[in-house]
């Protein structure tokens, strides 16, 4: 019985074949991506760790430092979220917190939760739940958008005063890239590996 893949967009059934290098299989009927070339778990783990480190940096160090007229202000990620809260927009603050902190944290945690045991050839506990949770949160990770927002804010501010990107912005950048590439990894690898260590 050959491995099968069904297109999520149009329902066409394909045979799943191993892919060389970094390629993507596309649906014959509607050209939607079917599956990616498999990435090894160690590689995924490495990227996940990198993303975590980057996340810590992004939260610890300020994103932007603004100096003008002797004043100096700086904004960390948390400060950006609290700013909305301070201005009586708790809902917006909550939304920002969700997309910028909760979602990445949870996703990275869950990923590591899964990847570490898998690398060690043990089955991660509550694997199914964790995988489902990750899937739920994935669309709510908006770190890349935030990165662009930081860039735009810097440019807008440079007209006002001296605005400097802090280490936090660097962390955000790395994190965005890392998590984007994590998203492109083929989830089925995890499932297969989980099956194999059952």
């Amino acid at each position: 019985m050959p491995e099968l893949a069904v297109c999520a967009y149009c329902g066409a059934v394909h045979r799943r074949a191993p892919l060389p290098g970094r390629t993507t299989a596309r649906c014959i009927r509607c050209d939607a991506p079917l599956y990616h070339s498999t990435t090894e778990v160690p590689a995924m783990l490495g990227v996940a760790v990198l993303a975590t480190v980057a996340f810590v940096i992004a939260n610890t160090f300020p994103l932007i430092t603004l100096s003008a007229q002797g004043h100096q202000t700086r904004a960390t990620l948390w400060a950006a979220i609290m700013a909305s809260y301070n201005y009586r927009l708790p809902v917006v603050a909550a939304g920002l917190a969700l997309t910028l902190i909760v979602a990445p944290v949870v996703e990275l945690t869950l990923l590591l939760w899964v990847l570490v045991p898998l690398s060690l050839r043990t089955r991660p506990p509550a694997f199914r739940f964790v995988m489902r949770a990750m899937a739920v949160l994935r669309p709510w990770r908006l770190v890349e958008v935030f990165l662009l927002g930081v860039i735009i804010a810097i440019v807008k501010l440079s007209g006002l005063a001296t605005a400097v990107l802090g280490w936090g912005a660097f962390g955000i950048t790395v994190m965005a890239i890392a998590m984007a590439s994590l998203g492109s990894f083929d989830q089925s690898v995890l499932w297969q590996r989980a099956e194999s260590v059952r």
């Binding site: 019985m1 050959p2 099968l4 059934v13 045979r15």
Partner: protein, 548 residues
């Protein structure tokens, strides 16, 4: 393609059939629509009325950014700027904030506050940074309005400022401008709120705003004068410098003063918008309004330097009036030039003196001309006196002079012809002439001759001395010389004989001294012996060794 056997595929976990709630999701759009509606309503409620203001220029105003400010508080925003239908003006659409709807009443005034430079100063500088805005001066009317015509410049007085406005009429604007200060007792009490040429071009109309509570101090006896710059007066009274403040030197200003209280006309507070005259200076302002005037004509036979249209006519130290005109005339019969002076005097300036004279005239039953005639008979004449030797300014004085020829005072065409007398400067000149004449009379020649004679005698005397007296004297001198020689010799002899150590005199003197010394010694011994043997005086000395 190999067969796909569906049965080889895993089977899904089938749910027990659940009845789904019907369309619970529709809550979401309901909430959303409600929220949107609520926001719309709130925004609508928060915005106040929309008004339109016409301006001639929209310079500096930006849609969406420029706002309307009342006392520096933003009360509305410009939402649109458009050109009026007749293409003459621009129309700014302004949305006032909710709470400020009451600003839009009929007599509210709007203007554009932008940087302005005028002689009165620079205003609106802050708008260079913040952009122009529309200023509001709220009116007091109860009727609201939606269309306004904006002012082109900020109103001089804002309604909420306590105080009153008064109107002044001036011959010219001097160095006055809007916002020029108005002073009372050298303290600023207000400023010029508007200044403009009268429509007929014959005067300048000035509106001044006097702040509360000083506006209540203004009475109908108040006088206003142009206190711009400095008044430098160099006249008969000397040099005077009169200024209100540096501000007036730079920006011009008006000063307020009060005439001395007149018991016949008690001062009443002046109502707002009362009209006053703006005088050129303090002197003119303080001068009591001259009710009656007399025209005088005087003819002077002397040079009239330093007399001109501003020259004062003075009587006993009181300035009664001034000269209007001086004309040079030529009398062909006497071949002399004369000066005709026309002047106007105001007898009331004499104050009580005038009143007394009038009273006297009434009591004596004499008319005005008769009174004047009696004065002239007593010696009233017009004289030119020197006012200021420095500037050569002179003035005319009416004075009662002694020893005047009898003359009449005449009137011609309503002008009194006052007889004149040679005046002050002439007297000095006469005195100088006298001195000169006296000096002239000194017989310097004679004196010179006598001095010469004396000199001659002196030289004769000296000659006499030389000839006669001198030889005798010479003899005397010779003799004296001989005597001197003799004296010298004598002194030498003395020296030799006496002063020298081995001279016989000295020797004998020495011997004598020695003997005396011995004698004294003996006596001393005797005295001692007697002390011890007092009885020997009586009995004599017993034989014994003589003490040595």
């Amino acid at each position: 393609m190999s067969e796909i056997n569906v049965d080889d595929l895993p089977a899904p976990n089938v749910h027990r059939h659940k009845r789904g709630r019907p369309a619970a999701i529709w809550i979401v759009p309901l909430i959303a629509i409600a929220a949107a509606a609520a926001l719309a309503v709130r925004t609508y409620l928060r915005t106040g009325p929309t008004i339109k203001i016409k301006f001639e220029s929209a310079e500096g105003l930006t849609v969406g950014q420029s706002d309307v400010r009342y006392k520096n508080v933003p009360v509305g925003k410009i939402t649109d700027i458009d050109i009026s239908d007749d293409l003459e003006e621009i129309v700014a659409t302004v949305e006032l904030s909710r709470g400020f709807a009451k600003l839009a009443v009929e007599d509210t005034r709007f203007w554009v506050e932008r940087p302005r430079i005028g002689v009165g100063g620079v205003s609106g500088l802050s708008t260079l940074l913040s952009g122009a805005f529309i200023g509001v001066d709220v009116g007091t009317s109860k009727k609201s309005a939606a269309h306004f015509i904006g002012l082109e410049k900020p109103p001089g007085i804002l309604r909420d400022q306590g105080g009153s406005a008064f109107r002044l009429n001036a011959q010219d604007g001097g160095s006055l401008a809007i916002k020029s200060p108005v002073y009372m007792r050298r303290e600023q009490v207000g400023s010029i709120s508007d200044i403009a040429l009268a429509a007929d071009g014959k005067s300048v109309e000035i509106e001044v705003f006097i702040e509360a509570p000083y506006d209540h101090v203004i009475t109908d006896q108040a006088v206003f004068w142009n206190a711009s710059g400095m008044d430098v007066t160099l006249d008969a009274a000397g040099l005077r410098l009169d200024t209100q403040s540096i501000a007036t030197v730079v920006a011009g200003g008006i000063a307020i003063g009060f005439r001395p209280p007149d018991p016949r006309h008690p001062a009443k507070p002046a109502k707002a918008d009362t009209k006053f005259v703006l005088y050129d200076d303090r002197a003119h302002a303080m001068a009591t309004p001259d009710q009656e005037s007399l025209a005088l004509a005087m003819r002077f036979d002397q040079p009239l330097r330093g007399i001109g249209p501003t020259t004062t006519i003075d009587f006993n130290g009181v300035v009664m009036g001034n000269v209007d005109r001086v004309r040079l005339g030529y009398d062909s019969t006497t071949r002399a030039f004369y000066s005709d002076v026309d002047a106007t005097v105001y007898p009331r300036r004499l104050g009580d003196a005038y009143d007394s004279m009038v009273l006297e005239g009434q009591q004596l039953g004499r008319s005005g001309p008769e009174m004047l005639q009696s004065l002239v008979a007593r010696g009233l004449r017009a004289q030119v006196r020197s006012g200021n030797l420095l500037t050569g300014q002179n003035f005319i004085t009416l004075a009662i002079l002694p020893n005047q020829r009898k003359t009449e005072v005449a009137m011609r065409d309503g002008t009194w012809i006052v007889p004149t007398a040679r005046g002050g400067t002439d007297l000095i000149q006469d005195q100088i002439a006298n001195i000169v004449a006296k000096v002239d009379k000194i017989p310097f020649d004679a004196i010179g001759g006598e001095v010469q004679d004396a000199a001659k005698s002196a030289s004769a005397l000296l000659g006499h001395l030389d000839r006669d007296v001198v030889p005798d004297t010479k003899k005397m001198v010779d003799q004296a010389q001989l005597a001197m020689d003799a004296l010298r010799e004598g002194l030498a002899a003395i020296r030799d004989n006496v002063a020298a150590a081995d001279s016989p005199i000295q020797q004998s003197a020495r011997t004598t001294l020695e003997e005396l010394e011995r004698a004294a010694f003996s006596l001393r011994g005797l005295a001692d012996y007697l002390k011890h043997h007092p009885e020997t005086i009586l009995r004599g000395r017993a034989s014994g060794p003589e003490p040595h």
